[in-house]
Symmetry: C2
Subunit: 309 residues, 2 copies
């Protein structure tokens, strides 16, 4: 029943001279997704964005940028190099490629270091890891060509491990349905005005994309006991929302540990459950992005149970 | 410069009807070590034990048992199956095979699950993991044939990660020598009456075996910045020593995190640096062994630094 929920992620901003990425059409993006060994399940669109729900995570396409996340044992780096081959390196204004620590990294097709070798054959960039190898950590590669980031180009990620409690039990049960999961996650309440596109996997697992104008959210739930993982990502300004989304999700899903990643957004642990922040970093990237990473653990001594193999 | 310090470990107790393991002779043990892709560097013996220092860790042979630890990318499981092939499954009264979480598990030749498949073709046993996959954890396989453990058959392990401070700086320096490392670790003071056999690797890294009667200690130092690891293991009764060995080593090496494993020995965190114990387990195995595992982290918020790749 093991499934690697942790996502690989590529984000690309193209130059003003590049034609609209949305105009490349669905077959182009189907080809991109296929390179990662995933497929498109459904989509939702508005005037600004095409949001594709994938068999493994999500793809968002705007006119001048795209964001693709894939989990499991997908090969996202192959989609990244395919994109560069198709549009040319000069079409790219800025690109980043990221991976988190995985539960079972030896089951992955490639390591981040392997991916780097492929990427660097196509485009020049810098890379580093934040966090120790024996704890939660995050890898990022980003292009080093000149580019000035828009300060409003923000990203907020909440990555939750070992969810527990009633909501976790429901998400692992065979009694769940789309409406029930939406209610459990309080999607409508947290995110008024969003158009959602979601999918319930068998026997469990849930993905949702949401868009509102240029804004997006995506949530992926891998509820498997002993290796659960739930990710939330958005470009929303978190300070302007009707609810404190991170605090609400943490309260509902009660994870044993969680990480927060921000680009160009302030960090606050206000409303978080009782915790210890084991480590954090604030890193100024050359292009103007302010990267924040922090790793939290609930403030309790856990009685560990043996897991038979 | 990366080196995986974390050890794989096999321990075998043979039946009373089995001839002395020491009488198998050095060529037999050289063959065993070669199966793991290691080699014998030196040895020290007394009336009870032959202790071999290996290119990757250690081998201790008594008349009725042996203990072999290998680190790096060695294939210890092949030595384990070779031993069973050579002596026969019926010669084994009790055996255990253990692995810790590794820094870069995808670089290992096999996973613990792979090793289990090989072991279970030769001998029946149970296996479990203690600790979450995204945190420090420990794997153990042990035979399930009837056996009654001697309550005096104890093991104490202290596994230290991310050592820091003056001692760590010295162990990473090009100015170290055997006498200096022994003094840094206070070997003579901590372990009076022990015969030591040690080796300083190039450009750094240190291993020592020590024996006194039937007692042993072994210490392996992988001081590499960002992936340092130091292990201490012994069958000494820790309560009867002139110094509190764990507290002394923790004070000297100032690790960011550490794990303690005991078999048939009480656990005490007395004298440990300020810490949070993130999780622990006490598990009673069928054969009478009481297994303890606990994972500690220093009680501070670490400012994480990006590590370029």
């Amino acid at each position: 029943m093991f499934f690697e929920g942790s996502e690989k992620k590529i984000e690309v901003i193209v130059t003003p001279a590049t034609p609209s990425l949305r105009s490349l059409g669905r077959p182009f993006w189907e080809g991109m997704v296929a390179k990662a060994h995933a497929e498109i399940l459904s989509s939702v669109s508005n005037d600004y964005c095409d949001a594709y729900l994938l068999s493994e995570s999500s793809l968002f396409v705007w006119d001048n940028r795209f964001l693709m996340l894939t989990c499991g044992t997908t090969t996202l780096v192959n989609a990244a190099t395919h994109f560069i081959d198709e549009l040319g390196e000069q079409a790219i204004a800025f690109a980043s490629y990221q991976r988190k620590n995985e539960y079972l990294s030896h089951l992955q097709a490639t390591s981040f270091t392997d991916d780097l070798q492929l990427l660097r054959k196509k485009i020049s960039g810098k890379a580093f890891r934040i966090g120790h190898l024996d704890s939660h950590h995050h890898y990022i590669f980003y292009t080093d060509k000149p580019y000035e980031a828009d300060t409003s180009d923000i990203t907020n990620e909440l990555l939750m491990y070992h969810i527990s409690g009633d909501a976790a039990d429901y998400l692992r049960s065979d009694k769940q349905d789309i409406a029930g999961v939406r209610a459990t996650l309080a999607l409508a309440e947290m995110l008024p005005g969003f158009s959602f596109d979601d999918f319930l996997f068998e026997p469990f697992g849930y993905s949702v994309n949401g868009i509102r104008g240029r804004e997006y959210i995506t949530i992926h739930v891998t509820p498997q006991e002993n290796s659960s993982y739930v990710s939330f990502e958005t470009n929303l300004d978190m300070s302007q929302q009707p609810l404190d989304i991170f605090a609400r999700l943490l309260g509902t899903l009660d994870p044993g540990s969680w990480d927060v990643i921000h680009f160009n957004a302030p960090h606050s642990s206000c409303g978080f459950p009782a915790h210890i922040c084991l480590g954090s970093a604030n890193i100024q990237l050359e292009h103007g992005y302010q990267l924040h990473f922090s790793h939290y653990q609930q403030l309790y001594h856990e009685k560990l149970l043996p897991e038979a193999i």
